[in-house]
């Protein structure tokens, strides 16, 4: 399934639900991730305590966010890392391009970074004649097939090995068809090692930026992140401004939560902490390190006490793995960079409810995402809040595009409902009329859509009030 340029959520969902292969691939993968997480946190009391600590650490960071960012900038600058600020993705792209141009670079090797996806950096660079080379195996696979990630952590999880085999055979010259996963991995290694050795500039994301020391911390398993941040002359790191934490001692509990929640690992193969470009006398490492700090709507989220919790997120992706909607439709159906529960609360706030508010409707509100979130983001509460702001009956919406679903008919229905429930007379008439209608709910307008895949509710012939009266219960 390719990525559509226009966003039709209903059509995407229909398509995904009918794609048996996709659903099989997803079910298998998500079950594995759920089991692995459970296995790495066997002690529930320990996990709950760790989650509370993670929540407190991130909240403490948000409480001091501007001060910590200034401290991070000061310490990075002192260490020789050049810090850039970007209001939006266009500015962030411009900064990266300017660095590439200054070094006369024709290509850039990239470690996995969701912020770079948010920037649509590859597309932007391509338009400027610069080749962006994804080096994470999953990202490499989907880039060959001109797709975007379908999962925050395992971007090619919607593909099975047969599909990967076909992509490698078709897209990499002189590659024999093989479904052997070790051989497929070896092919990627062979192709990309040449690119690592040749590239002038490497790009990475940031998992945690430590204000206290001016350190950028990255986790990974493949070694491509270390390659991108060590071999080229220049390293550019991009981060959302919520990635900053106060001090080094905040890192161990967050790391444990991140790797445990993301992939069920005690620790990743590599934890890479970068504090400076190559210092005098050192023999390798980039000679220039740049840090791009991106806002793109995040500062607006901080201003609301409830929505601000979106910024606690450490991008582990476990809410996707546990989501009954995600597991059935996969990441592409959401039509935006961040899929699943976190995407449902993040994307409408970034792009506006009128643009992406529909994402918040794709939830059964089962609560699983909130229960597993390592930093205790109350995702279901935020989904409900976004749904309310979509109608904005009381004119209090803070998210851009609030009230986009507000319409006269529905407003009148709610006004009527409210009135009917405050007036015993109207209430009595209403319930009697509904009782008369019984099973015959009119299948028109929104009711028709609602009952298309649901059993219509049946209204009892007699109301509870009536029955109570008939039974002789005294009315208060």
């Amino acid at each position: 399934m390719g990525n559509k340029t226009t966003f039709d959520f209903d059509a995407n969902i229909d398509g995904a639900l009918k794609d048996d292969q996709l659903r099989k691939n997803l079910r298998k993968a998500m079950d594995i991730l759920v089991d692995k997480r459970r296995a790495v946190f066997p002690d529930t009391a320990y996990l709950e305590q760790l989650r509370s600590a993670g929540n407190a650490i991130k909240r403490r960071a948000l409480k001091q966010l501007p001060r910590l960012l200034e401290q991070l900038e000061a310490n990075c600058t002192k260490n020789g890392i050049q810090v850039h600020w970007a209001e939006d993705t266009a500015q962030a792209n411009g900064i990266v391009l300017e660095i590439l141009r200054r070094h006369d670079a024709r290509d850039i090797v990239k470690g996995k970074s969701m912020v770079s996806e948010e920037m649509h950096l590859n597309h932007f660079l391509e338009a400027n004649d610069i080749e962006a080379i994804e080096t994470d195996l999953g990202e490499f696979i989907i880039q060959l097939n001109h797709e975007t990630p379908s999962h925050i952590i395992v971007p090619a999880i919607h593909k099975n090995k047969d599909e990967v085999a076909a992509i490698f055979h078709d897209k990499i010259p002189d590659t024999p068809y093989t479904e052997n996963v070790e051989e497929l991995t070896a092919i990627a290694r062979r192709v990309l090692r040449k690119r690592f050795a040749a590239a002038k500039v490497g790009l990475s994301g940031v998992n945690f930026a430590i204000a206290e020391t001016g350190t950028l911390l990255l986790v990974e398993n493949e070694g491509n992140g270390r390659m991108c941040t060590t071999v080229p002359e220049v390293h550019v790191a991009v981060m959302g401004l919520e990635k900053v934490v106060e001090k080094l001692s905040d890192v161990p509990p967050l790391l444990r939560l991140l790797t445990g929640s993301a992939t069920g690992q005690m620790i990743t193969t590599y934890v890479n902490m970068i504090t400076a470009p190559r210092r005098s006398g050192e023999k390798d490492g980039p000679k220039e390190v740049h840090l791009v700090i991106l806002d793109n709507g995040r500062s607006r989220m901080l201003a609301d006490p409830e929505f601000r919790q979106t910024l606690l997120c450490i991008r582990c992706g476990t809410c996707l793995n546990h989501c009954p909607v995600y597991v059935r439709i996969g990441g592409h159906a959401y039509g935006h960079v961040y899929p699943g529960p976190i995407g449902k609360i993040l994307t409408p706030q970034m792009e506006g409810l009128d643009q992406a508010g529909v994402l918040a409707t794709a939830s059964s509100l089962c609560g699983a995402c909130g229960e597993v979130c390592p930093v205790r983001i109350p995702i279901p509460d935020l989904i409900r809040r976004l749904r309310n702001e979509s109608y904005d009956q009381d004119g209090s919406a803070v998210v851009k595009g609030g009230g986009y679903k507000k319409n006269l008919a529905e407003t009148l229905v709610w006004k009527g409902w409210s009135l009917a429930n405050r007036s015993p007379l109207l209430n009595g008439i209403g319930t009697r009329l509904a009782g008369k209608a019984g099973k015959r709910m009119p299948k028109v307008g929104p009711l028709k859509k609602w009952t298309r895949v649901r059993t219509s509710p049946q209204v009892a012939r007699t109301s509870l009030h009536e029955r109570a009266r008939n039974e002789g219960v005294k009315d208060e």
Partner: protein
């Protein structure tokens, strides 16, 4: 596009105006830390790293290089990258001074990477000392230096790491505090828990993606 300073100041001004600093954050103590004795730490680190496909050997501090030579012959490395001025450089040179049959050629990492990048990508093994170990998760900690640069543990397909048993901490947190990391971080600090790996295709675990395919750990005690 507005100037850099303006962008920065506008973002910070919005963050300052957010009212976030007025929130109260409750204290949330960390779960109890692991606390093992020396032997148990060695055992745990070895078990955790073995589970991540590291080839762990517990060796004698005094003649550890004999075991290294055995391994080098057994595995048939052609060339071994080392840092002559690093903590284990002279040990290796002494060991390689005699009885050299079947041993890999020693390659010294002496100049800047640019001077020998092409060759570096052809070498099949690299050996480094490590600063410490972490028992809880199973990992070795490297602070690469000019004597043992960063790429030694990344580019060659085999990385041999030499750890002293006395430097194993219970946890990352314990180590950061004990070694006062906050007072000054190196250019690059690394935790390594095994050979590079991926599970990006159908969750099939494959070792040896972009980093080393093999990690050999010698624990000296």
């Amino acid at each position: 596009m507005s100037s850099h300073q303006n962008v920065r100041d506008r973002i910070l001004a919005r963050l300052h105006a957010s009212g976030a600093e007025l929130t109260t954050v409750p204290e949330a103590p960390l779960p109890p830390e692991l606390s093992l004795d020396r032997e148990a730490k060695i055992e745990r680190l070895a078990a955790m790293m073995t589970a991540m496909r590291t080839d762990v050997h517990i060796v004698d501090t005094h003649n550890w290089s004999d075991r290294l030579k055995e391994l080098a012959r057994e595995k048939g490395w052609k060339r071994l990258l080392y840092g002559p001025e690093g903590p284990i450089g002279s040990n290796i040179e002494t060991a390689w001074a005699s009885d050299t049959a079947g041993l890999p050629e020693l390659v010294a990492y002496t100049g800047p990477m640019e001077a020998f990048k092409e060759d570096l990508f052809q070498i099949d093994a690299g050996i480094t000392s490590v600063r410490a170990g972490v028992a809880e998760t199973g990992a070795v900690v490297l602070w690469p230096t000019s004597h043992e640069p960063r790429l030694m543990s990344l580019v060659p397909p085999v990385h041999v790491a030499v750890l002293d048993a006395d430097t194993i901490y219970n946890s990352l947190g314990e180590m950061m505090t004990a070694e006062r990391w906050a007072d000054g971080m190196p250019t690059n600090a690394l935790l390594i828990s095994g050979p590079s790996k991926t599970a990006d295709i159908e969750f099939t675990l494959v070792f040896g993606v972009h980093g080393p395919k093999e990690l050999v750990l010698l624990i000296r005690k």
